[in-house]
Symmetry: C2
Subunit: 215 residues, 2 copies
C-alpha cells in the first residue's frame, strides 16, 4: 500500500533520492531495529534511541515505564527515524563527497499500548524479529514485568524515505582531476555469539539469530 | 572538562548507565559520524540523519543550503544524538533481554556558520576525520559550492550519555532456567574501497581512510 506524500513529509531537496513506497520502507525497518524517536518536551526537541519494530501497518517502540519521555508521549506528535549508514562516497571535490545511506522518517501521533494482551503480542513480535522462535524458550513474562514496560505505537501513515547508493557523481570537468574517487562500503555485522559464563551445561545458542538483515 | 548534568539532560531512569564526562562523549562522537538531529518545526518534532563532527568544544553538522530544516535552524533549540548499536544481550526472560549500546544526546541552540573562512575550516575538519590528509588532494572548493553548503554548530554544553556493555543480568532465580543467554556483538565495519570506474590510471586510494573508530 503506497500513500501519497503529504506536504509535511515530502522530500524537497533532492527528489531523485526520495521514495514513498511501503516496500522500501518495510525493508529499511527490517534492516535496522535501532531508531531515533523525536519528541517535543517543553517546546524543545529530544531525540532518543530505542528499538522499533513493525506489525502490519503500525510501528512500535518501547522502553521502561519509568522513562520520563515515554510516560508523556500519549497523544503527542512524534517523529521516528531509522537510518543505515552504508558507505563513504569519495569524489574528486569536497563538494561532491557524500555518503550512501538509507533513511526512513515516520510522522504520527503516539499511542501508549495499554491493553496487556496487545502489549504482550507486540513484545513477542519484537522478540520474533530479533531472535526467531525464541519467545517460547524463555522464562514466561510476569504481569509486573509487563506493567514495567511501556510500548508505544503509531500507524504508518505519513513517511518519507531518502536514500543514496551507487558510485561517485562528479562534475563533468572534474573527471580529469588526478585524485582517487570511489566507494568505501560500511556494513553493520553480527559477531559470533558469546555465551554467558553462568549458562547451564548443554544449552545452545538459539538458531533464530538471523541477523535481521544485517551482515 | 566535565560539566555538571543539568536537570534537562540528567538521565533519570537507569543511573548506572549514565555518564556525563567529556572523554566518553568525545569517544562516542569520534566512533560514529552519523547523527540524528531533532528540530521543532510548527510545533512538531523532526529527526533527520546527517554527519556530525567535533572541533574543540563545538559540535558541527551540515547539509545542503536548500534544506528546509537547515535554513530555519538559526537560533532554534536542537537535540543532536549519536548512537552506536553494539549488540544484543539475550537473557533468560524477555524482560531482561536488552541491547548493548552507546548514545550521546547534546542539547543546545543552533548557529549557522556564515563566515566563509570558518565554514571552510569546519568542512576541512570533517574531511580530515573521514579521510585524513585528503583535503589537499581534492579539486579546490569553489565559493559557490561553499555557499551551497550550510554548516551548523553549537557549543558542547548540555549533554548526557547512556551506555550499556557487558553480559546478561538476569534475576537471581532465573539462572537455573534452561535457556541460552549471552551476547551477540554488532559492529560497524568498513569494507574494502571500490574504485570509481572513471578513475584516472595510477591514482590510489587515500591512505587516510582510518575508519574513524569503526571496524
Amino acid at each position: 500500500m503506497d500513500r501519497p506524500a503529504t506536504q509535511r513529509v515530502r522530500v524537497k531537496r533532492v527528489n531523485e533520492l526520495a521514495r514513498y513506497d511501503r516496500d522500501t520502507l518495510d525493508a529499511i525497518l527490517a534492516a535496522m531495529p535501532m531508531c531515533h524517536v523525536g519528541y517535543v518536551f517543553d517546546g524543545r526537541p529530544y531525540v532518543t534511541p530505542t528499538l522499533q519494530w513493525r506489525i502490519g501497518d503500525h510501528i512500535y517502540w518501547h522502553g521502561s515505564a519509568a522513562s520520563r519521555m515515554l510516560e508523556a508521549v500519549e497523544g503527542q506528535p512524534v517523529c521516528l527515524t531509522v537510518s543505515l549508514f552504508d558507505g563513504l562516497v569519495l569524489a574528486r571535490s569536497a563538494f561532491n563527497f557524500t555518503v550512501n545511506y538509507r533513511s526512513a522518517m515516520l510522522l504520527g501521533t503516539a499511542r501508549v499500548v495499554a491493553e496487556p494482551a496487545e502489549k504482550t503480542e507486540a513484545l513477542q513480535a519484537l522478540m520474533e524479529i530479533l531472535v526467531a522462535g525464541h519467545w517460547d524458550q524463555l522464562r514466561p513474562m510476569r504481569s509486573q514485568e509487563l506493567k514495567a514496560t511501556t510500548v508505544v505505537s503509531m500507524p504508518i501513515e505519513e513517511f518519507s524515505i531518502k536514500l543514496r547508493d551507487g558510485h561517485t557523481i562528479d562534475d563533468d570537468e572534474d573527471y580529469t582531476f588526478p585524485v582517487w574517487a570511489g566507494l568505501v562500503p560500511i556494513r553493520t555485522v553480527m559477531g559470533a555469539p558469546e555465551a554467558d559464563p553462568r549458562n547451564l551445561e548443554g544449552v545452545v545458542a538459539p538458531p533464530g539469530l538471523a541477523g535481521f538483515g544485517v551482515g
